[in-house]
């Protein structure tokens, strides 16, 4: 009898909760972030895993600070993509922060690396740039900021895995032509400014061939020092 009482109470509580949930879904959209970002998921995937469109980036698992910086940049028009500039125009900061946190906390598996369309030599050149850079041309290694495992660092440096070559080259191009800027000092603009078309093709192609690492999570803030300052990564 005594033993059953808590169970009964539990059952009632559960029923009441379910009742509430049912009543709520009958008249109101679910009170969740997932329902609130349904405007985003046709392009970015239900869990931010990306879609078939090679220019629509994966969002899942990227550092929340990085995603938030991007949402701020789209809202103000500093980063340009009209459909997103329009959607975000009248959304307040805390809400953008919540959207960023939502996609940062999703962890769908990384996609299979795509078979590459470029030659072995080009891939080798891409690997060299990414892992060692080219000191003669003032190109730092991508890993020096994006991390030895290319998984990025909290709070502002994104990983470079799970992105398709077309997207990566478009972003590097956008930096070179000023369509994308980040908080000053905009270190990526310096990096992209030193790359040639051929470098961009090579590094984007090599990145897209990388398999998923065992732990794709961005490393904690301060795990390593950056070669030079980035406005989006406060010390």
């Amino acid at each position: 009898m005594f033993a059953r009482y808590p169970a009964l109470a539990f059952a009632i509580a559960t029923l009441a909760a379910m009742d509430g949930a049912a009543a709520q879904t009958a008249n109101q959209p679910p009170d969740t972030m997932a329902a609130r970002v349904e405007a985003c998921t046709p392009c970015h995937g239900n869990k931010g895993e990306g879609t078939n469109d090679v220019y629509f980036p994966r969002l899942a698992g990227k550092p929340a600070g990085y995603l938030y910086n991007q949402l701020l940049a789209f809202r103000s028009g500093r980063r340009k993509y009209p459909p997103m500039n329009y959607l975000l125009e009248f959304l307040p900061d805390p809400y953008l922060e919540a959207m960023a946190a939502y996609f940062a906390s999703e962890h769908p598996p990384l996609p299979q690396p795509a078979p590459s369309e470029v030659s072995k030599e080009v891939l080798a050149q891409g690997e060299l740039l990414a892992t060692s850079g080219d000191a003669d041309r003032s190109i730092p290694a991508c890993v020096s900021c994006h991390g030895p495992g290319l998984t990025g660092m909290q709070p502002g440096i994104p990983g470079l895995l799970g992105l398709r070559a077309a997207y990566v080259s478009a972003q590097l191009g956008a930096w070179r032509y000023g369509n994308r800027t980040a908080k000053a000092p905009d270190c990526m603009q310096l990096v992209a400014g030193h790359l040639t078309e051929a470098d961009v093709t090579a590094v984007a192609a090599w990145l897209a061939t990388r398999p998923a690492p065992a732990n794709p999570a961005p490393v904690p803030k301060g795990t390593y020092a950056l070669p030079f300052g980035c406005g989006s990564q406060p010390n």
Binding site: P82, Y86, F90, L91
Partner: protein, 412 residues
Amino acid sequence: MGSKLSITLLALAALTTAAQAQDKNSDVVARGEYLARAGDCTACHTAAEGHLFAGGRAMPTPFGTLYTSNITPDPATGIGKWSADDFYKTMHSGRFPDGGLIYPAMPFASYTKVTRADSDAIFAYLRSIPPVIQKNKPHELRFPYDNRQLILGWRTLYFREGEFKPDPAKSAEWNRGAYLVEGLGHCSMCHSPINALGGTSQSDAFKGGLIPMQNWYAPSLTSNREAGLGDWSIKDITDLLQTGVSMRGVVYGPMAEVVHNSLQYLDDADTRAMAVYLKGISEPSPPPPPSSTLPTTESSLLISLGKSVYDKSCASCHGTQGEGKPPHWPPLANNQSIEMQSAVNPIRMVLNGGYPPGTKGNPMPYGMPPFAGLLSDNEVAAVVSYIRTAWGNRGTPVSAREANELRSAPLH
């Protein structure tokens, strides 16, 4: 000893009057800030990521691009040298301190209704904000519109100078609402066929208030066939104005901007006054007989395709009967804003999707995805035709050409 005491007393008295004066002044400044919100000065005078009221925001018009002015108190590049009289002259008469004519893109045709006291309060507030050194960018208007004398012609046609005159036959609340809507709110700047931003030629082509350059239709606020609010409850109207969403419908596009920057900050009494006035000015009009320019066979094909698109892409949020889950997922059945003669807004809504503005009353709004990349012109036309005619809605079908034309409408 005695004189010392009286000096101290005098000093004390002086201090208190100074403090009182300061209090009074800070009251005026706070009032001015509130009124500047009601006038939505920031929508035009603050650029994206720019300093508050430093201007420099581009306003595209059919005649070229205007750049808004720096209205911070910097003496060299802002209005730091202006007097309250100079400021009133701008608000009331549309003239610079030296008498020069101001382009009507600055909504002085509405602001002329603002009282002297309110104008002075806004001026006191503008004097209290941090000055920003930023030179005004010269306008880029095409010949002959770069000649300010042309504004005289516009003024003769459209400008009636004069403060708001309350209508003694109406309640104080109605008059307060009228003062805000006709004056600081400058609602008529968008919601009228004659458009201060662009003149008449463009809007004639589409009738009603198509906002030139932006390609959004600002519905009539008096006709219940459009955005007339005659059969809305006061609560639904105040919800719409204050939070951007309501049980009857939501705001989007340029109206989302108005709610975001301006209306959400108005207090309950003022919002209610506006609602009472807006409800009062609507003129009940009988529904028009549906008249479509499309041949019947074409429209019935469209509508059956439209139903299948709707069931697949829209019903999860807007409900199979267009009932929605209001206020967050708006109802489409019996929703005036999709039944209007002009189908520009529902077509753009489908192409571009949107979020209502994030407001104090609705800080995390739900959104609608853009369908521009997911549906063909024909499917867009079909689904819009369907929602305009299903569930007793009294709109007319639209063509794929109309849908196609709006794909290139600017998003900013």
